[in-house]
Amino acid sequence: MTIKLKNIDEYRWELPKTGAMRVPGIIYSNASMLKDIKQEEALKQVANVATLPGILKASLAMPDMHWGYGFPIGGVAAFDWENGIISPGGVGYDINCGVRLSASSLVEKEVRPRLEDLINALYQNIPSGVGSTGFVKLSVAEEKKVLKEGSRWAVRHGFGEDSDIEHTEDKGCMQNADPETVSQRALERGRKQLGTLGSGNHFLEIGVVDKIFDKVVAQAFGLFEGQVTLLLHSGSRGFGYQVCDDFLAFMTKHVKKLGFDLPDRQLACAMIQSEEGLRYYNAMACAANYAWANRQIMLHRSREVFSRVFGMGPTALSMNLVYDVCHNIAKKEYHIVDGKKRAVCVHRKGATRSFPAGHEGLCEKYRKTGQPILIPGDMGTASYVLVGTQKAMEETFGSTCHGAGRVLSRRAAKRAGKGRAINRELEDKGILVRWTGRSTLAEEMPEAYKDISQVIDVVHGAGISKKVAKLRPMAVLKG
């Protein structure tokens, strides 16, 4: 099947409505990245999503899009809250996979001489890698409290401060979480993994603010040039994977009863306003809360490590949480559709919320500027801080990109990395790396990802978020 795209402007292409599609597809990209996308099936997936009941306006894809299961990664789709579907495949396995950024009072030249000690100490204190287990031991009863409370649970147990909660998307808790909706298997899988980084593309990065694009907003975010930062990318670990897996299996059977003719089994879904749909929404919220507690605990551990290495107290060190965003989630939000405010279920699968100044969903601090958006790049290049915009509200249900997006398969990356010492190559660029998995480093090498600056240029150029600052990595801890 060849898909013909219609160019709208410099950054947008339309995938016209054909066949069973209820709405068109809109792809944010540029001419050169689009060539890569065309080799994949991601475009077909954008079209498939457009066939699902209740979809509003368009099936959207961000510039970091690539092939996923059912829904493409980098996909955004909003469904009518009353007459639309909710789909586990529209969220992904790693529910509330996300990023948080903490900004220290230190500058690069203070950290550089102790960088090796710092990354080694982080490596020892933040459990990472395949199946890593954490230092937080939970009973099932306590685990259910984590699922209910999210970040609040972590702060209540001494892992952080109240201001951390304030600076987390949705205050680190989806209120609808209902632990009775999750399986024993999910509880079992999640019990030992709280406070762990995981493997694959998850990481912890010490970086430095390399460039400021918007001085006023950067200042409001607490960022200045030369400042040392900590960026953390992780999710809901085995707990979230199991929730997704359980509901995919269940909904595959459920859709047959509904009589939906799905182009792909991984698009399995339920009507939001049904017992099954709400059960998934409430279970997914448990995983979202687990992920927030997870990142909160790791941030706290990292602060303790910084404190020890630099012999500084928490006040002097600062290490304030700038923000925490999730990029795999489905949420009830209110958006203007055809001139009317409507409740919708926004699926962001590898996409980040991009709420503008004045949005009631933001904490007071960011209501003046718009929310911080954190976009991690590959480990050798750069990460970006952006700010949310009104244009995103108008065009993308308040959403933007989430990362660089892979271009090489893990196997192709390993092949390309054969005979090379990726860690040495990075060290030559001034980036220290510590890792756990044998093949992680080759799989995650910089060439395996799209050029992050191109992705950022598209979302900035299209206006669905705006550049604030660029972070350059100094040391990276990979799972």
């Binding site: 396995y93 199946g131 899988r189 997704c244 792909d264 089994r265 991984q266 196997r411």
Partner: protein, 137 residues
């Protein structure tokens, strides 16, 4: 050849072969644990019985691998061999030989998060049976 790896941008897939249905399902189990660990280092000291059901061949295949993955992710069991003694399109019963995970003895090569339904295929030959399965990693 029991299986080969399928290259996918973000994930890991397997193309599995078998002389018959039982052989195919046994080789799929082998492929899963071959990706997770070094099977040669396993002794298969313990045994348990697994029973699963499915709506059709692809569903039965996914449920079989999901069940085995559950043994690893929740029970920390590493499977060496499977003896499938009952198999239809809708049901499978097998004896599974496994070792309990010991970080000092067993290397973990890949984290398999889940077995997906994406582009799942199970096909009867001739010449034999084959299946394509994609894992989320």
């Amino acid at each position: 050849m029991k299986y080969e790896i399928i290259d996918h941008t973000a994930d890991l897939g397997i193309h599995v072969f078998g002389a018959d249905a039982k052989g195919l399902f046994a080789n799929a189990a082998f492929a899963l644990f071959d990706l997770i660990t070094d099977i040669d280092a396993l002794k298969g000291l313990n045994e348990l019985e697994v029973h699963i059901t499915g709506d059709d061949w692809p569903d039965t295949m996914v449920n079989w691998l999901r069940e085995l993955l559950y043994l690893w992710t929740c029970k920390e069991m590493l499977v060496k061999t499977t003896d499938i003694f009952y198999l239809t399109e809708h049901e499978l019963t097998a004896k599974v030989k496994f070792d309990s995970y010991d970080p000092d003895r067993h290397e973990i090569k890949n984290e398999i998060k889940a077995v997906t339904y994406h582009q799942i295929q199970v096909e009867k030959g001739p010449p034999g049976w084959e299946s394509k399965i994609i894992f989320d990693v």
